[in-house]
Symmetry: C2
Subunit: 359 residues, 2 copies
Amino acid sequence: MTPPPPSAVTLGIDVGGTKILGVALDAEGRTLAEARRPSVHPGATATGHPAASYALIEAMAVVAEELEAMLGAGGADAPGSAGVGVPGLVDDTGRLRFAPNLPAGDDLDVADRLQERLGVRVVADNDATCAAVAEWVLGAAAGAEDALVVTLGTGIGGGVVAGGRVLRGAAGFAGEVGHVVVDPSGPRCTCGKRGCWERFASGSGLARLAREAAHAGRLGSVVHLAGDDPDAVRGEHVTEAASGGDAEAQAVLDELGWWIAVGLSNLALILDPEVIVVGGGMIEAMPLVLPSVRQEFTSMLEGADRRPEIRIVTAALGEQAGAVGAALVARNDRRYGAELDKAGPAAPGERGSSTGHSS
Amino acid sequence: MTPPPPSAVTLGIDVGGTKILGVALDAEGRTLAEARRPSVHPGATATGHPAASYALIEAMAVVAEELEAMLGAGGADAPGSAGVGVPGLVDDTGRLRFAPNLPAGDDLDVADRLQERLGVRVVADNDATCAAVAEWVLGAAAGAEDALVVTLGTGIGGGVVAGGRVLRGAAGFAGEVGHVVVDPSGPRCTCGKRGCWERFASGSGLARLAREAAHAGRLGSVVHLAGDDPDAVRGEHVTEAASGGDAEAQAVLDELGWWIAVGLSNLALILDPEVIVVGGGMIEAMPLVLPSVRQEFTSMLEGADRRPEIRIVTAALGEQAGAVGAALVARNDRRYGAELDKAGPAAPGERGSSTGHSS
């Protein structure tokens, strides 16, 4: 398929569990428009029923059409292509092969269906890979040849840049870091295994650590924030108390930081990135967590004193990262990397010519 | 530096804990000569003392000179360069930055020192990365764009091929898979952490699992093979008994297989290889272990029934893999990968033109 001209506007749509966020990106990587709507009703997506997948595609299309209307009203070009980021295993054809966190999308040919619906070329990719591309091209990993981006939210997603290219793997499924087992006798995961990293180092992991501490009689002020019900304690209660100086709440965040560091140091041994970008829904808590992450990471990393420092930084693009990255991926037909810089059409907003990001 | 002409002979030297193995490779990847000698006396290598590092370099040089003499006697060309595989973190300049298993080599500029001693260009790299290159170019991963090679021996080493190139990482330290933590409350590792994968899934891990079983009153015939001393049980005793049909011994190997599968499925989630090659000192035991590895791997891998099969195979080059790979790495000045196929000199024995391997 012929690549769009460098001046084309591209849509990017990030499909999350609670909302669908879309952006329209111009050739320089600037956001021209943003639209959002709640994700399809959970009841409508609870099965792989054709109606549920129809509703999911329709919800994406509505966001895309809103963006197109905003572009038209602003006198901008019509989009030449659209990218979609979805949670799960997305193959090279844009089919969502496995989607434990988005049942309506399970085994759904997202790219083909949305392309048919919208009438523009559509490329689909894993949502965390999209976020990684965005952070690499326009965000906190700009300029890095080797980078790791992890999104800490309800679960954990990941995207890897290796040697100046996005690491794809044989089937396009690389970077599924959330289900790396870090404790085989740990709690049961939604994937069926025990002790996956995202059971400890995610938002749901923090809530679990906090409830355990609450039931052990600690976290008095956090439990109070949760209406005096230990079972109602959520991550936000912990960060709120820790922000106010509560030492017991900070201790739970330090424990979270330790688990984040376990996974990050494992990944650093395998991938040897120069920078690790931490984003996702938990990014607001990172100022309270990253100090312990950095300290434990250094103490866990084999030969840490003999290596160049591996920087651990927060994501720069915030909640737009997935949508912006989806647009960038679409513009490059998924094959984002150094070889395109040489052989393919110039990727607008590519590394090195990054112009910053206006949100 | 000007690459050697395609006809040049290259030396490859693999520095292990018990032996140094060298090969001379011709332009087609055939082994023209092989030499070996015991590794330097442990006492001489127990410290970072200059005399110990001198002895280590000297031992490599003696192997290289033996190979040169054999080449001369056979009328072959003199080698144009030499590669060295050493255990630990090797940076882009060929310095061994961190070598917990080879104290004499700790922070030693292996490439420069041996180059000065031999008078030919020398390139140094991690030993498991060398083995991975050899299996990728001439062995069990030939033709793969995405492959993972793990060497199971006393410890565990790793090398990764991603998108048709060796995954190097920012400092050249990628693929350090042995120290990935799979159980934070597990046994203490030589690296200082707890529960590293190589504490469970290596030769020393098998011995530990077997001694635990022996002390629990199981493994009667295995203990008998070890002179009726549970503390003397080694991995070889387990595989010998299991080969003879001993069910308790096979159960310990199945447990080993489970731990191997934990690490391999973790790595597969991150890297998404099309093939995993298992080699190293434990390769002889693999016929007894791989059936359980394959079964547990499939049951642990997220979305296994929605993915292309990831083959798990044994290494093809046996004990020569590290030395052969060191020669291949030297020929390409470490930057082994697809971009050399396009831009650089044709790598003899490169993927696609593999001519098989004569040992």
